[in-house]
């Protein structure tokens, strides 16, 4: 007997207590924020650059409310480089990263209509350990950061 249930491999990023996951395939690498180069031209929205796989990744920091931070939080110890189908995109800083297998993909639900925001990078949510994990991917987060750059940049 076959099962329609399929699992999803995820990386969960903790950003100021908010937990947001990305498909494991979207993760190109994880660096320490101490390895970032923070000297940037004025008026840049990214907080730093980081060298990974012979590529310089622009790094962004967001708050738990999903606003772009002018500099990385002291609590952000890691920079996750997000890479959608070899299309290198950006790095995102976070407090912690953990690998997670969502064993039943039907557990991923969309937010209720009344809570959805068209610019939000949150695509789905699921419950885990009496808490919520938000689900995004590299494309959705990139589009969201571009929207914020357009509005505030």
């Amino acid at each position: 007997m076959t099962s329609n249930v399929s699992s999803i491999q995820l990386a969960i990023l903790d950003i100021g207590g908010i937990r947001i996951s990305f498909p494991r395939n979207d993760i190109a690498g994880i660096c320490l924020t101490t390895d970032m180069q923070t000297e940037l031209p004025a008026n840049n929205r990214e907080v730093a650059w980081v060298e990974n796989e012979n590529y310089q990744w622009p790094v962004f920091s967001i708050s738990k409310d999903f606003t772009i931070l002018p500099r990385s939080s002291d609590k952000h110890r890691f920079c996750v480089c997000l890479d959608r189908k070899q299309d290198k995109t950006f790095g995102l800083t976070c407090d912690a990263v953990e690998a997670f297998e969502l064993k039943d993909n039907s557990a991923a639900l969309t937010l209720p209509d009344c809570m959805s925001n068209p610019i939000s990078p949150i695509l789905h949510v699921f419950m885990h350990n009496q808490g919520l994990i938000f689900m995004s991917n590299a494309n959705a987060m990139r589009d969201f950061l571009l929207t914020l750059e357009t509005v505030y940049g």
Binding site: D65, N117, L132, F134
Partner: protein
């Protein structure tokens, strides 16, 4: 003799109350697990974990007063349908005192409070006077609709800028 109907009165804050028809009032809980959702509308800032499911959490005081209130753990669970024959949806409504049941009739009908304008005014099904206070009966399905969020951008932005 005027017909009466049962309603539950919910205290939004020290100034405002609303009422729900008895058939929509599902449960009252005094402790709850709430998770903030980034970029959600201010009056729907969190999800509530209730009976192994996630439901939206509505803080109507934010819509009424146009300012942010401190979190409250007491919640009334309301059930509603978007149209007849569809499954029940649930929403948690933050309350700041014990809910209580009353009987209302047409003789106590009155105008909604002055603060009820825009989308909030549109959500009022009827209103009655209780202890010299105007208590609206609100349309929960309307307040939880996606269309409301789309139509309320200006009002939501006002709250966001507080």
């Amino acid at each position: 003799m005027a017909e009466t109907a049962s309603a539950w009165v919910l205290t939004l804050n020290n100034k405002h109350k609303i009422a729900l028809p008895q058939y929509q009032t599902h449960e009252y809980i005094t402790t709850s697990i709430q998770v903030k959702v980034p970029l959600a509308p201010p009056h729907f800032h969190s999800m509530l974990l209730w009976r192994d499911r996630m439901i939206p959490l509505l803080d109507l005081a934010i819509l009424v007063e146009q300012k942010i209130f401190t979190a409250a753990k007491e919640v009334v669970i309301a059930a509603y349908q978007t149209k007849p024959g569809t499954p029940l949806n649930f929403v948690g409504i933050i309350v700041r005192d014990l809910p209580f049941r009353i009987e209302v009739n047409d003789e106590s009908a009155c105008e909604p409070p002055e603060q009820y304008h825009g989308i909030l005014r549109n959500s009022v099904l009827s209103c009655f006077s209780y202890n010299d206070q105007s208590v609206p009966i609100v349309n929960i399905a309307y307040l939880c609709s996606e269309q409301l969020f789309k139509n309320s951008t200006d009002e939501t932005n006002v709250i966001l800028s507080v």
